[in-house]
């Protein structure tokens, strides 16, 4: 990749980096290089300030007070729900449920929507490249009901086989849950085609968008799926907030996953009637400050030029890939033709944890391990990988630092 092209695509990179206070620090005596955004993205100042402002000025419980602070907190909290609706192209805020995380959203759908539909012998279909959050909830309900969990296979590049997917959609298949993009190797799945194939057989589809939302414009109407789950913290918002989007008709027929305050219309000693959507799924006091911080993150993302950002990330990824290919001993796992800017590396003789420690000593933060995707690691026959995940605040200089770090790993191990 020529320097010219990269420079041309720098979208006020300095200004962008200025917005992220955490990036400007030294770690182990070196300027921090943060290449672990797929684990959690860093937060712009606006998000931190929104949370502080909320606690300093508006803190009160939502949906239950008549006093001014409670009214204000409720207004801000519900305004974020509208921001979420607009951001993902949902029809109504009734379809946008605030949860704790992507994981909780998947568990909610597994327990409240899928489990009552399962009988012994039925099947739930997922893929080989899921992370544990999109495996274990299905294992739990399959164990409980005697249903079977089926996996779609993939090729050596880490791409899902559409043929295998269609072959495994049978009249026993009651539900499909697939990641929009893989956290471990970056593969972006052909969601449109998969949703169509499943819907042709009348099977509802959930999409786990935890990784995708940070890198692409997601439009649930366009995707055509029935449920979409994502987390605020991967899209530059706070931890502890996630969203379950679901078709209103489906959410309507589901019984609540958790019971408590906030989700009721009327409680007598004998019986409870539930609150309207989406509140019937939001038992207990929610993460109000987190949701308000999430609103600031959505504003921040909306202020960026998505096309330029995406082009910049792709260019930086291409540069990193080219540089990595020149480092002896390391190879990239997962080279799908359509993927997120994630590079998962393995070395024939050096374990990912040793790589991670040596890079950390140079101030470089990246993830070493199985990325909570152990079946995927088994497929590639590796115990762990070193993952560089790129966000728009990363620079070419940072990639150079990481590459130099990998050379240092080789030197240290006499490779």
């Amino acid at each position: 990749m020529s320097q010219h092209l990269i420079d041309k695509q720098v979208v006020d990179l300095n200004e962008l980096r200025e917005a992220f206070p955490i990036l400007h620090q030294e770690v182990n005596g070196h300027p921090l290089v943060y290449l672990d955004s797929a684990a959690t993205a860093q937060k712009p100042r606006a998000v931190v300030e929104a949370i502080t402002n909320y606690y300093e000025q508006d803190n009160a419980n939502v949906h239950r007070g008549v006093h001014a602070l409670s009214v204000r907190a409720t207004k801000h909290y519900e305004a974020v729900r509208e921001q979420v609706r607009a951001y993902i192209g949902a029809q109504s805020t009734k379809e946008c449920v605030f949860v704790r995380s992507t994981t909780e959203a998947i568990n909610l759908v597994a327990q409240s929507f899928v489990r009552p539909r399962l009988q012994a012998g039925d099947e739930v279909l997922i893929t080989n490249l899921e992370h544990h959050a999109n495996i274990v909830p299905w294992q739990l309900i399959c164990e409980a009901t005697g249903a079977k969990l089926n996996y779609v296979s993939m090729n050596e590049l880490g791409e899902i086989s559409l043929e295998d997917f269609e072959a495994k959609l049978s009249n026993k298949t009651k539900f499909v849950s697939i990641s929009h993009a893989s956290n471990a190797i970056g593969t972006i799945n052909p969601i449109h085609a998969m949703v169509k194939a499943a819907h042709d057989k009348g099977i509802p589809v959930m999409v786990d968008g935890a990784q995708a939302v940070a890198h692409m414009k997601v439009d649930v109407a366009d995707l055509g799926c029935d449920f979409y789950a994502f987390s605020a913290h991967k899209m530059f918002g706070p931890t502890g907030v996630g969203v379950l989007w679901g078709r209103e008709a489906y959410l309507d027929e589901m019984t609540p996953y958790q019971g408590g305050g906030e989700m009721i219309a009327e409680v007598t000693m004998e019986k409870t009637t539930y609150a309207e959507l989406p509140h019937k799924f939001e038992a207990g006091t929610p993460n109000i400050a987190g949701v308000i911080g999430f609103g600031a993150a959505i504003n921040f993302l909306n202020s960026l030029d998505g096309v330029a950002i995406s082009a910049y990330e792709t260019t930086l990824y291409g540069y990193a890939k080219e540089m990595l290919d020149a480092v002896p001993g390391f190879r990239v796992i997962g080279e799908a033709s359509v993927k997120l800017p994630i590079l998962s590396l393995v070395h024939d003789k050096i374990h990912a944890h040793d790589v991670g420690t040596i890079l950390d000593s140079q101030g470089i933060a990246l993830r070493s391990g199985h990325h909570c995707a152990m079946p995927l690691m088994q497929f590639f026959g590796v115990p762990a990988t070193t993952r560089l995940s790129i966000a728009f605040y990363n620079t070419r200089e940072e990639i150079n630092r990481a590459i130099e770090g990998l050379h240092e790993v080789n030197r240290m191990f006499g490779q």
């Binding site: 182990n28 374990h351 040793d354 420690t357 191990f413 006499g414």
Partner: protein, 148 residues
């Protein structure tokens, strides 16, 4: 302050490259498994006890340099020791790695080089996995040891 040189010393790299006593043992009198779920380090450890003396010792496994080297060095340290001496060795090793300011006990011999791991908290579990697994084998504990 992190000191990489203290972590990846020559001896550790050597034992990682060419682990000693690295094989299964058919005639083992005790064995155990150790896993580090966070990293995926896996060890199987084997002991051949004659009365209360460790006559032979070996391991198999995969993982980072620290986990492999500590298992390899541990096998060398354990050979010929009585079970009481071995228990004392595990305790001395674990103390060295987890207690602030602990100085290596003379009984540790070459294992003292793992002192440097203490400044890398994320790696302490890699270094102690083998000692926990051997301890479980000696105690005839059949559930796999995990560091979590």
């Amino acid at each position: 302050m992190m000191d990489l040189q203290a972590l990846y010393q020559e001896v550790i790299l050597d034992h990682n490259n060419a682990p000693r006593n690295h094989h299964a043992m058919d005639c083992a009198t005790c064995e155990a498994r150790g896993v580090n779920p966070l990293c995926g380090d896996k060890l199987s450890v084997y002991l051949l006890l004659k009365k209360d003396v460790i006559e032979d010792v070996s391991f198999l496994g995969e993982g980072c340099a620290i986990s492999q080297a500590s298992a390899s060095l541990m096998t060398e340290a354990l050979k010929g020791k009585t079970t009481t001496e071995a228990q004392a060795l595990f305790k001395a090793f674990q103390t060295l790695l987890t207690e602030e300011g602990a100085k290596p006990d003379a009984s540790l011999g070459k294992l003292a080089i793992f002192e440097g791991v203490r400044t890398f908290p994320a790696r302490v579990k890699c270094a102690t996995l083998a000692s926990h697994a051997f301890e479980a084998a000696l105690n005839k504990d059949t559930t796999p040891v995990t560091t979590e």
